[in-house]
Symmetry: C2
Subunit: 451 residues, 2 copies
């Protein structure tokens, strides 16, 4: 299948809005999936987006709301009254509803909640609002089908009919005891293939993987990925079933997590996107550039201290090699730290830390020897003194070893202290490696060349 | 819930294997989920892994096989006969079965297929083998429940019972016509809430999103993410229902795609992991380091051409700033390219290319002015000539503009030519920006300083 929204659709819709041709606009929109409509609204200017939004009925608009970019959604919500927002919320599943209410200004929250029609639904939403947004409780929904272990399949199907009317998609049927404690799950397969008089107690599957309300969302994502789960039940401290998390919510978390690591490695603050405003883009980029610049200025002062070498006709060429040293130190540091960050994220950093460091040093020495050979060949071609290229090579190897150790250690330390190790990739590691690299380079070269 | 495998478990199991205490080993393993067992086998040495694998029955081992690291799995498969492999395959869902058979040596494939017990299952697997692994056909499974539009709910439930016996999880019930053409889906909710005499034709939902067998897997991932799908039906060129893809397979693709981009940005070849051998790690790292070094050596030759400046007492300090210029050029280039790569991946690069470049230039000028101010302050503190720091600043701004344009353009061009734009992040962009940066820097500085 193809995506439905392209440039033609957008310009066509724009023209129809200018012509105030509501009939044709509605006709065009009727066919669209709500995710496509959200894409369309994201692409339009704000006034057109609100215009279209108000043209649609709330069953459709509520679904669109959950898919919109944050900034467009905020603007649309600002254009709606508390009662209108409540009408949207009434149509939403509890988890999406709670997410939208959580974003509203404090005074508006209560007003919107007061306008909600279905009391049970409202209770569930208010209940969800008290969980931290980065926990299982913060991402779970209240919609689920549960049956009691004492029931027969027959009662169960009858009750499921009743419960199902309020639920869009049935993922799994959970089995609880009289105290609402989660006991297991009932597969559709066993319901279909057993006599209707069978008690649920006899056929339910008691090996159900669950998460706790206060588990972190990333942990939930890891568990769902590892066990290939499509939906996972959430239990409270007493083991009572309180909600469920579906994989589509978790996919977003996995995606965000990966994007965040990538952005940190690239020296971008979180949430910078190509279609942001110039101001936002500068805010996301400048701090890292300043950090990098300050590091480089430190390197400038180090070189100032070695400027007497410039008077030496043969060895002044050391200054031609400073960008090379800095670049190699940076590249090696980023490689080492990226391997650590991914290893930590995927839980594969096992075994002793000394063994890991020894491995890094071995790799560095071998890589360093290869690069040094290239430098010596280069030196021969451009008629550098052999002792000079050897000095450059030896200090390059030292720089590589130090850079890789820093790249390995820093993420580990950050991780131990509960800080996101991904912070150690990108400009941070490049900058510190620049400084160390140039310092080591001149000192070792001086030692070897006897200047 | 907590992960089940920790160091204690591993060392305990190791000891039990040494003692050949099969009873206790089996007892410990019995409780474990197959994903945990796979984690355990990945953590053990190869001999212990095979030992445990042979201790378990094939219903369990087949599930473990699908979760193992590739290298351990290959080794285990090598230790099994064609008949033993066929026994594992018999237990697997068609998509996992096809993946494993596809990895076998050519001559073993046929032998394994010949040993498969269930002929229908074998046919499905062979059928799947002919699709390219990066397409919808390559990741789909054949297990699904389908009903004909002419049936009533009653016939439908009876047939579902029959079909469900061969299927582990029922995700969605698909409705097809007499020619097997996909018409829509039947929700469990409507089945539960309608009389059993109702014909399916009257209640099925005809708005079903599907993918084509030859759609690329990344496209499938995007569609499932966008429309929050848990399962998507796959149709052939004629619209006939041929399989289904579940979200857990797609989660792996999303994760791999993000990891790949991250590794390219960090200058690592694909598939390098912290627990790989030293040789593999060098193979994944050295080529990028050599690329970076060659670029830096080119920069060395550029500086050789400007070495006469070293004789100038006041302006020789230009050489202290070369690592700074290279670092800023690199950082800016990586930022710009990362924004483009993410934008392209998330389909948000819209609008004209000239507007985008203008935006990049505006951001560069503003960032450049900020950084220049810092350099001028630095220059005042260290008593540099004002005209000197102005020369450095002006060339820095020029370097930033060029670096950001390169960072924006290269991913776009690669993408247009069908090459993964992520290749443009990391060492590739840093290196080319180093060379351009230093070239621009010296030329502009010479011009301004009149040397």
């Amino acid at each position: 299948m193809q995506f439905q929204i392209n440039k033609d659709t957008i310009s066509k819709i724009k023209q129809l809005i200018v012509d105030k041709n509501n009939v044709l606009v509605s006709e065009m929109l009727e066919e669209l999936h709500h995710a496509d409509m959200a894409e369309l609204l994201d692409a339009l200017d704000f006034d057109s987006a609100v215009y279209i939004f108000k043209l649609l009925d709330s069953e459709k608009t509520s679904d669109i709301l959950t898919e919109l970019d944050d900034d467009i959604r905020d603007k649309i919500l600002q254009a709606l009254s508390a009662k209108e927002i409540a009408e949207e919320i009434d149509e939403l599943e509890t988890d999406d509803a709670a997410d939208i209410i959580a974003e509203l200004p404090e005074e508006q929250k209560e007003e919107v909640i007061a306008h909600l029609e279905d009391v049970e639904h409202a209770k569930d939403i208010v209940d969800l609002l008290r969980y931290d947004e980065n926990t299982a409780g913060g991402i779970m929904g209240k919609e689920l089908i549960k049956v009691y272990e004492d029931w027969t399949i027959f009662t169960c199907v009858r009750e499921m009919r009743r419960q199902a009317e309020n639920i869009d998609k049935v993922h799994t049927v959970y089995v609880v005891d009289d105290h609402e404690i989660l006991k297991g799950r009932l597969s559709l397969k066993s319901m279909l293939t057993t006599s209707t008089k069978t008690p649920i107690k006899e056929i339910y599957n008691d090996s159900v993987i669950s998460v706790k309300v206060d588990d972190r969302d990333e942990e939930v994502a890891q568990i769902m990925q590892k066990y290939d789960l499509i939906v996972v039940p959430v239990i409270d401290e007493m083991g009572r079933l309180v909600g469920k998390i579906t994989i589509d919510d978790v996919v977003d978390i996995i995606k965000e997590e990966a994007d965040k690591d990538y952005q940190m490695a690239a020296g971008l603050s979180e949430d910078v996107e190509a279609d942001d405003s110039i101001f936002q883009l500068i805010k996301g980029r400048l701090p890292w550039l300043i950090l990098g610049l300050l590091g480089s200025l430190a390197a400038v002062t180090i070189m100032q201290n070695f400027q007497s070498i410039m008077a030496n006709a043969e060895y002044k060429a050391l200054f031609f090699f400073t960008p090379l040293i800095a670049a190699v130190a940076g590249n090696v540091g980023v490689q080492s730290s990226a391997i650590m960050v991914q290893g930590l994220a995927n839980n594969i950093i096992k075994g002793s830390i000394w063994k890991r460091l020894l491995k890094e040093v071995s790799i560095s020495v071998i890589n360093g020897i290869f690069l040094s050979l290239l430098i010596i060949i280069f030196g021969e071609i451009f008629h550098y003194n052999l002792i000079f290229t050897i000095a450059v090579s030896v200090s390059l190897i030292s720089v590589i070893i130090i850079a890789s150790l820093i790249g390995t250690f820093v993420p580990l330390i950050l991780d131990k202290r509960g800080i996101d190790p991904a912070l150690a990739t990108g400009p941070f590691i490049t900058t510190s490696n620049d400084i160390f690299g140039i310092l080591i380079f001149f000192n070792i070269a001086k030692l070897i060349l006897g200047i």
